[in-house]
Symmetry: C2
Subunit: 214 residues, 2 copies
């Protein structure tokens, strides 16, 4: 297809496509005439991935470039490097982190044996969330509390990323799957938990509200 | 304490305190002289609650007024109405909702027997999240998938709101507890899940990264 068709199929404007090509994020098309090139499914997939990483995951272009570079190195790709580069960067935060929260996260990661480094964005995001908890919550959190949440997180991850999933094989799709899977289900989990809280609250107050309304 | 002290204890500016009093959100202080009033712990608690509802829960003043009004009616308070008014309003969204997502949420709430009405903000937030999933995710979601997440949400709610918790008794504190508890733990749950994903990904690629870093 021509660049205009590639644009309409993916919803990415032509100037943006040209920018991605110049930056090396998207391979050039196959030249068909002096001023024309042909694009194919790999371009469509790559653009969808870049779009997901930008719009859904809100990742900076430098991280997207790193993901794409890893996709183009067969050895890096086989080691799952494109997916891990994306997961490492999701959810970065500038929020303040207390020393006690930082220690609590390090101890938690150690207790759970999680293979994640302190430079993971979520590592810092967790410390920032615990710092907010220290400030606003009525009582200090304990290792036991954190472990309970960690167990739930592991249970989620175990069914969300099944044993037979191989992030090294499927290229663009594996990255999109990992990133979108992580992000798109977040509001679902939170909304369901809020509903479960409201349900539990209704039960504990013995207020057996009828289905048909009040 | 005087209004200036109430302000410094709670971090709420004096003009804002006066505004809350005019709006009926905060009881007047006990008059001690022509132009002076004395404030106590109940004022501190109420201001902390209003602040949590505004700053952490991002609730509109109309909902906060409803919560406060319910707090001041002993019968309403005993029925847990202040907490349910707050929980009902958390997380409202203007995002688009597809008919199929709306049906899926109604069916889910019915299957789980959750005592929540369609006018709960999270009810719509869940439908909006499913609508985003329909648009961006590689395959359709199933009832089985939603039930798996619902089970996790119920498990969370069961240990987060223990059986002996009585939302009708503790007034301001019960509302703050319910609202802050729902919200402050959200980023913790999400960050832990992202870390669990990264860990699972590292294991599935057989990339046993060493603790000391690369």
């Amino acid at each position: 297809m021509r660049i205009s068709e590639l644009s309409s199929v993916t919803g990415v404007p032509v100037p943006t496509i040209k920018y991605y090509i110049r930056e090396g994020l998207l391979p050039r098309g196959e030249r068909t005439a002096a001023n024309q090139a042909r694009y194919g499914d790999t371009h469509v997939e790559r653009l969808r991935l870049i779009r997901a990483l930008r719009e859904v995951a809100d990742l900076p272009m430098s991280v997207i470039a790193e993901v794409v570079a890893a996709l183009e190195e067969p050895e890096e790709a086989a080691r799952g490097r494109p997916v891990s580069a994306a997961l490492r960067a999701i959810g970065s935060t500038e929020a303040e982190v207390s020393e006690s929260a930082e220690r609590a996260v390090a101890a938690l990661v150690d207790r759970r044996g999680w293979q994640v480094e302190p430079d993971f964005a979520s590592y810092r995001a967790l410390a920032a969330a615990l710092t907010a908890l220290e400030r606003h919550w009525v009582r200090p959190y304990t290792d036991e509390t954190l472990d309970r949440y960690a167990e739930v997180a592991e249970r989620l991850a175990a069914f969300e990323i099944p044993d037979d999933w191989d992030p090294g094989q499927a290229g663009e799709n594996a990255v999109a799957y990992a990133v979108l899977g992580t992000l798109l289900f977040e509001p679902i989990i939170l909304a369901m938990r809020r509903l479960a809280h409201a349900d539990r609250h209704a039960r504990l107050t013995g207020k057996t509200r009828r289905r048909s309304g009040s």
